[in-house]
């Protein structure tokens, strides 16, 4: 047993629902107790879908358990088939039904429904949502994709977009446009938007574009093996990755058509002088493996940030992420426990977090700016406006999204110049961050240490004694040093405090004076 409050991923049957809901003319029958329909509202509310997910639940209750839950399942299959007339039926068990062992696949198979029945094995007590999506899509491909002659023109399939995918809708549009510029038509984009009939003709494509390994890598590998279709390995997030993706597609398709880069503004925006202040901003990245790995490269190579931590919650991506993190000189954090993530963020003391909905809240609590780069996300990250993450427009979107929470150059400059001014004082905080300054990470219980002694070159203290105890035992901030610390911009103050205290501890000092502060600054200067 493991105690959890927040979970990054739902159970595997929710992943299967994401595949089913993305598709058309497919229906899923889920053997599940009353109450599991809660998952419907993820699709109707967060993604704002205008129809019910194509999922029927058997809704068994306690009184059914001794009797005929298998009968209930068959009735639900029959009703779903008769009412919705799908081209194929997906059948699976949720976590509770897994325990009662009714074998949905076997039961549905005996019914002679006249459409393909695709059974799913979803080990709910071992695996999670992304596995469920990946597995469901693999089984759909295995059951339906038929061997087929290639199309005359060069075409490809797009693999991976699902319902409830972070920006999947616009990523598909952006990449479809990009491929079209290169003279490549999309044969089938799946699962989202595809019907079982579309899946049948996937074999006609010359190659596959794998956009989201989390949801479709198994299917891509199977299609490679069974249908001889190679698939792309580059995830086109960021300008560099998009260019690399274009090269990869050229190699697979022999396309030589030029791609218009005139709408790509991100490189110039990042090169313009107002972005100089972004240099070396320390960012912490967390999310699904794919988005974190792509974002880390964009952060370092295209934005000039320093990546000070990275990790993912889906174990399936642990290996490639560890490899990339080592390249960045970091140890990857692989965990699905948000408390571990919170601790790692506190330790790294970044100036910015790129993460999920959960990291937004961690950022809010710690007063660190944050932008969202990965699911799980809430309703505001299924926007009405066009906002892909991929391709050239995606790069533009990333620049705006990541920079907005930060204080921009001119604003930061003003904060420095007028930091004692009533409007620009430190506590005002960046304008895009709710107008409040971050809470200091190191601030612990007040100890009200009176620091009467003169602590250095500053005038002696006449202000009330410091209310903030040092995080390190036995190290006391003299009040003038405390005041000097306050003059340091708030977004680096937490780091300055920690560094100074670590420095003092190391030197065996019990008091921090203004001089100690600046000695520490010199010590840590890079």
């Amino acid at each position: 047993m493991k105690l959890a409050v927040w979970t990054y991923e739902g159970p595997p049957h929710v992943g299967a629902m994401r595949v089913a809901t993305g598709m058309r003319d497919l229906h899923m029958v889920l053997h599940a107790p009353q109450g599991d329909t809660y998952a419907d509202l993820l699709f109707t509310m967060i993604e704002r879908r205008n129809h019910r997910p194509p999922v029927s639940y058997t809704t068994f209750q306690a009184r059914d358990l001794g009797a005929d839950t298998a009968g209930l399942f068959k009735t639900a299959c029959r009703d779903a088939h008769d009412r919705f007339q799908p081209q194929a039926l997906l059948v699976a068990a949720s976590c509770t039904a897994e325990l009662i062992q009714d074998d949905p696949g076997g039961l549905a198979d005996t019914m002679g429904l006249g459409v393909p029945v695709i059974p799913l094995e979803l080990p709910s007590y071992q695996r999670k949502e992304n596995f469920g999506a990946d597995e469901a899509f693999l089984q759909i491909c295995r059951a339906l994709a038929a061997p087929m002659a290639r199309t005359e023109r060069v075409t490809c399939n797009i693999l991976g977009p699902t319902a409830l995918g972070f920006r999947h809708r616009d990523d598909v549009a952006e990449i479809t446009g990009l491929l079209s510029e290169m003279g490549i038509e999309v044969n089938v984009a799946a699962p989202m938007g595809a019907s079982p009939a579309d899946i049948k003709r996937m074999g006609a494509a010359h190659f596959n574009v794998l956009l989201y390994p989390e949801c479709a890598e198994s299917a891509a590998r199977w299609l490679e093996k069974e249908h001889g279709q190679p698939f792309t390995k580059t995830i086109p997030i960021g300008a560099n990755a998009t260019r690399a993706f274009i090269e990869e597609v050229r190699a697979l398709s022999s396309s030589t058509l030029p791609v218009d880069e005139s709408r790509l503004r991100q490189p110039w925006w990042a090169a313009s002088v107002d972005s100089t202040y972004l240099t070396g901003k320390r960012v912490f990245l967390f999310g699904d493996g794919t988005h974190v790995m792509a974002a880390a490269k964009v952060a370092r190579d295209e934005m000039g940030f320093e990546v000070c931590g990275m990790g993912c919650y889906n174990r399936e991506q642990a290996r490639p992420l560890r490899t990339l993190a080592r390249e960045f000189g970091l140890e990857a954090l692989i965990t699905d426990d948000y408390l571990d993530v919170e601790r790692a963020i506190e330790d790294a003391a970044p100036e910015m977090i790129l993460g999920t909905q959960m990291e937004r809240h961690i950022g809010k609590r710690l007063g660190i700016p944050c932008a969202v780069i990965s699911a799980p996300v809430h309703v505001q990250d299924f926007p009405a406006r066009y906002s892909p993450q991929m391709g050239f427009e995606g790069a533009n979107v990333l620049f705006d999204t990541w920079v907005h929470p930060l204080v921009m150059g001119l604003e930061e400059h003003l904060l420095h110049m007028f930091r004692e001014d009533f409007e620009f004082h430190d506590d005002a905080g960046p304008s895009h961050h709710g107008g409040h300054a971050p809470r200091e990470i190191a601030a612990s219980a007040p100890a009200a240490t009176a620091a009467a002694a003169d602590g250095g070159s500053m005038p002696p203290a006449d202000a009330p004694p410091s209310q903030v105890a040092a995080a390190h035992e036995n190290v006391v901030w003299l009040s003038c040093a405390e005041r000097e610390l306050k003059k340091i911009p708030f977004f680096v103050r937490g780091k300055a405090r920690r560094n100074t205290e670590a420095f003092a501890t190391e030197k065996g000092l019990h008091e921090i004076s203004v001089d100690t502060l600046y000695e520490a600054k010199a010590h840590y200067a890079r």
Binding site: M1, V5, V14, T37, M45, H361
Partner: protein
């Protein structure tokens, strides 16, 4: 005063349906119960699905150090029973060490824990012995196979009843978790009428939990308290039958029934409630201009459907087409049925596709339903009011009566305001 009508719905045959149910399970009750019981922690023993449900239902509350969590069963817990109990003990010990402010711990059963027959009542006894007297450990089922949505609160309160101390005092007990602001208003009105002391179940803190005995009389404020009602009867307490305190009329009838039990004349109640009642009627009238003559369809969700339909038809001039409840408790809902004029279909349970066929066939002006159905119905051109809000928002008694009516008026007003650009304007106009 409106006396119960002879033309009520108590004897109308109830349409009982079984099939796919688009409802929450009882675990959802934890979301508001843990706000009410300030020193209680709710530990669900369940699967990742249970944790995901709580997360989806709790929304942003999940980020505020809530006093609930899920002990997620893993593969190894399913292998052998003894192991699962040891695991549970370890997780509970860790939890209580981290949260010394916790005085009551509820082990909440889920579908998976019940199917593997993990005995949480024995676990609760064992853990009570280990962690008592500081922490009292209780258990109840919030599973989907046993409970629907608000029945989770009922199961929790019913689990509390046997553990409450014995008393011989003749005291009034209010049953049902109400928002603090509403509870305070109710206690104030009762005090003005001359009824003190009044106890509440649940109390806000463990040390204030009421005592029960043969002289206890209780009034139920939430229509889903069926099991709690039965548990209180078993301890000899006596229920005051009344409609539920929604709207000006419902609140007045409820107070008069309670007053009568204590030998206080209805005139005294009228005198005390004159001002709040006038305020409530004025506030209701404002919303009723939008609601009058509109046809409403209730899909089953919380068991609040019957009292709300009574309020909307009698005080706001709406017409009910179908009033559906997950469970119809004849004893508790009888007074409501008496007040509802004949006409609507009264249904219990659900077969969601069949019920949606009826919604589409009758095209109500407003459909009360869950969030899984609301947007799909809106897209079909039907106005909806999502039901969960009615459980989270303060809606009982006089001061909230206007807000309650407004919850139903707002979607209709919005529809009018957006009429020009609504994507389904033509369909909706038919």
């Amino acid at each position: 005063m409106n006396a119960p009508l002879n033309t009520g719905c108590r004897d109308v045959p109830v349409l009982r349906e079984r099939g796919q149910r688009e409802v929450f399970c009882g675990l959802t009750g934890i979301i508001w119960l843990h706000r009410k019981m300030q020193d209680a922690f709710f530990l669900v023993v369940g699967s990742r699905t249970c944790a995901h449900l709580l997360q989806s239902a709790a929304g942003v509350m999940i980020f505020a150090e809530p006093r609930f969590g899920t002990a997620i069963l893993e593969e190894k817990d399913l292998a052998g029973m003894a192991d699962a109990n040891a695991e549970l003990d370890r997780e509970v010990a860790r939890l209580l060490a981290r949260r010394p402010d916790i005085k009551q711990l509820f082990l909440v059963g889920s579908c998976p824990s019940e199917v593997i027959k993990l005995d949480l009542s024995r676990a609760a006894e064992r853990l009570s012995a280990q962690h008592g007297p500081n922490v009292r450990v209780l258990n109840y089922s919030g599973s989907g196979i046993e409970t629907t949505f608000t029945e989770g609160e009922d199961a929790c309160l019913a689990a509390l009843v046997p553990s409450l101390p014995e008393t011989q005092a003749r005291e009034l007990l209010l049953v049902g978790a109400l928002p603090d602001v509403v509870e305070d208003q109710a206690l104030d009105l009762l005090a003005q009428i001359g009824i003190v002391p009044v106890r509440c179940l649940p109390a806000r803190r463990a040390e204030d939990m009421p005592a029960i005995g043969p002289n206890t009389v209780y009034a139920v404020t939430q229509p889903f308290a069926g099991e709690t009602h039965a548990a209180l009867q078993r301890r000899g307490a006596k229920r005051i039958a009344a409609p539920f305190p929604f709207g000006a009329e419902g609140s007045t009838l409820w107070l008069k029934a309670v007053a009568a039990e204590f030998g206080i004349a209805p005139e005294k109640v009228d005198q005390v409630v004159a001002a709040p009642r006038a305020r409530a009627e004025k506030a209701i009238a404002a919303a009723a201009t939008t609601l009058r003559g509109k046809r409403i369809f209730f899909m089953p969700d919380s068991q609040l459907e019957l009292p709300l339909a009574r309020f909307l038809t009698r005080e706001c001039g709406m017409e009910a087409i179908e009033i559906s409840t997950p469970y119809l408790h004849a004893d508790l809902h009888g007074p409501e049925l008496d007040l509802i004029a004949k006409g609507p279909v009264i249904s219990e349970g659900q077969d969601v596709d069949l019920q949606l066929d009826r919604v589409r066939a009758t095209r109500p002006d407003l459909t009360v339903c869950g969030l899984g159905l609301a947007n799909p119905l809106e897209a079909e051109g039907l106005a909806t009011k999502w039901a969960i809000e009615l459980v989270f928002t303060p809606v009982h008694f006089y001061e909230q009566a206007g807000d309650l009516a407004a919850l139903f008026a707002r979607p209709l007003r919005r529809r009018e305001l957006l009429a020009r650009q609504h994507p389904n304007r033509l369909e909706a106009a038919e």
